[in-house]
């Protein structure tokens, strides 16, 4: 199974090397980075927030949310092209197909993280040390994969690739806006605070910032969220895979 997964990852990566993927993985998060830099720099600085340290994890979070879109896209593509069915008639373990997809997505996530952190470093973002960097990347990827699993379940059930993309974008916007990704908790009205706090985006981005700063981290909230999402979406994927 490990061998099969390896061959499948190789093929997935080979497909990912297209120009469109490059744009999606590197260019678009950097464009967002630039855009938010222009808009938010003054605003946050006047409030006494260390801008580079605040914004870099935010852009990473956004890019991680987008990773799920490509998971959905590639699975829908394999389904409509008949590749998925063909693989399922081969004497290979069906799980390796899913494992390969998830492993590829984890690898793909490293690309925008590297690009964003590189730009972050140019404007003053710093990790407090190597363990902090490793923890930061691991948490970001684990977060991304929980949504990739959800996208996989959706893509295995839906027959319409285009609706998958919009179904994935839709919940992302309110989750991003009603979180501490782009604004500190203090700017939200009091009555919204419980919503902001419980949002998985808030829990994860807060932990990412603490990890980068080398401050004491409360990993429990993001890890509970991630574990719960992995469990729910993982079950949904394995069920959907058997039926698809």
């Amino acid at each position: 199974m490990i061998r099969e997964t390896g061959v499948l990852v190789g093929r997935n990566v080979r497909i990912s090397l297209s120009r469109r993927s490059f744009f999606q993985l590197i260019v678009s998060p950097l464009v967002f980075f630039g855009g938010f830099h222009l808009v938010l720099n003054n605003l946050l600085s006047t409030r006494g927030v260390d801008f580079a340290q605040f914004l870099t994890p935010a852009i990473v979070m956004m890019a991680m949310g987008l990773a799920a879109v490509s998971t959905g896209f590639f699975i829908a593509r394999d389904r409509s092209e008949g590749m998925l069915n063909r693989c399922r008639t081969l004497p290979i373990n069906g799980l390796s197909i899913l494992l390969a997809r998830i492993a590829t997505d984890a690898l793909r996530c490293l690309v925008p993280i590297a690009a964003i952190v590189a730009v972050g470093y140019a404007i003053g973002f710093r990790f407090s040390g190597l363990p902090s960097a490793v923890g930061f990347v691991a948490l970001a990827v684990a977060f991304a994969l929980s949504f990739c699993l959800g996208a996989a379940a959706l893509a295995l059930r839906s027959d319409d690739p285009e609706s998958i993309a919009s179904a994935l974008f839709l919940p992302m916007l309110p989750l991003l806006n009603l979180s501490t990704v782009f604004a500190p908790l203090s700017v939200f009205p009091d009555w919204l605070e419980p919503v902001i706090r419980i949002n998985p985006y808030s829990a994860t981005v807060d932990a990412l910032r603490a990890l980068a700063d080398g401050q004491p981290v409360s990993l429990a909230p993001p890890l509970i969220w991630i574990a719960a999402l992995w469990l729910v979406f993982g079950l949904a994927v394995s069920r959907a895979f058997r039926r698809a």
Partner: protein, 305 residues
């Protein structure tokens, strides 16, 4: 002779729709059986069941001696499938597709490369081997698809509508490939909507409709049922006149704006003309032609379709 594919009362329904209704069929080892039926007859459902993609609701099936439900891994190790939609990766080149599937099927790198080269030569794809399959024509894709099925040789091959949507030249090339495969002793179960295709390729034909087997036999046996290979078609636009023609002609069935009579010989033509003349029916057109799938169906189902 032993059966390579053997199904007993195989059933599958999707909600209210009965896609396979207690279908029983045997495919002898080394033979080519054509599964003939219109769209929605249950052909693809059957292939999906036999290739372990779908779980049947009832009945039993053995493929290459293995139980479909109990030993799906063994079944998968004995079959190759070429589906209705050429299942190759568009981004990869023809060669990369073949090597990828070879590697997935546990060939070493070198073995996979050698095998890819051989198949590209055999299917006349060598000139475009290193181009992305995105740019391949429909015929080239199907050929590559079939080549992918043959990366590792399996005793049983399923072909689901292998030539649907192909131009005649590509179709002939694909037929030649199937003929070649037959000579190597592979058992083939192919589905088709075209009588001509089943006639060309299959040793035996199984006609399915509404998930049921409605006829089975050699192409000759089946054609005999439609009158020795020809039909006489009498086109009459006027419905009332057409209804009269139906009563005066022997074994006649209505088919759209025509009445069709089995024509075992040229004599049928004069019989039909005489009958029409004495009933004072003037047809819009009268032709003697090869039976189509429609004709086979109408004669097998007594014109109920």
């Amino acid at each position: 002779m032993t059966a390579s594919v053997e199904l007993r009362d195989l059933s599958k329904s999707f909600g209210e729709t009965l896609a396979l209704d207690k279908l029983s069929l045997e495919v002898a080892e080394g033979s080519v059986v054509g599964l003939l039926g219109p769209n929605g007859a249950g052909k693809t459902t059957l292939i999906n069941c036999l290739t372990t993609l779908l779980k049947p609701d009832g009945g039993t099936a053995r493929v290459a001696g293995f139980d479909l439900v109990g030993q799906p891994e063994k079944v998968r190790a004995s079959i190759a499938v070429t589906g209705q939609f050429a299942a190759v990766d568009e981004t990869l080149t023809g060669r990369e597709n073949l090597v990828f599937f070879g590697r997935l099927l546990k060939l070493s790198k070198q073995e996979a490369r050698d095998r890819a080269q051989k198949l590209l030569e055999r299917f006349d794809l060598i000139d475009d081997a290193d181009k992305a399959t995105k740019g391949y024509s429909g015929g080239m894709r199907r050929k590559l698809d079939l080549a992918v099925s043959l990366v590792v040789e399996r005793p049983v091959l399923f072909l689901d509508e292998p030539t649907t949507g192909l131009d005649p030249t590509s179709r002939d090339a694909l037929w030649a490939s199937v003929h070649e495969l037959r000579s190597t002793g592979v058992t083939v179960l192919l589905t088709t909507q075209y009588l001509e295709e089943a006639d060309q390729l299959a040793d035996r034909i199984a006609v399915v409709d509404h998930g049921r087997l409605i006829a089975e036999g050699t192409p000759q046996e089946l054609k005999k049922q439609t009158g020795g290979g020809a039909v006489c078609e009498v086109r009459i636009a006027d419905a009332a006149t057409r209804a009269r023609a139906l009563t005066v002609l022997d074994q006649a069935v209505e088919q759209d704006e025509a009445v069709v009579v089995p024509a075992p010989g040229i004599g049928t033509l004069s019989t039909v003309i005489k009958a029409l003349e004495s009933a004072h029916i003037e047809p819009d057109d009268l032709t003697l032609r090869k039976p189509t799938l429609d004709d086979v169906f109408r004669s097998l189902t007594g014109g109920s379709r």
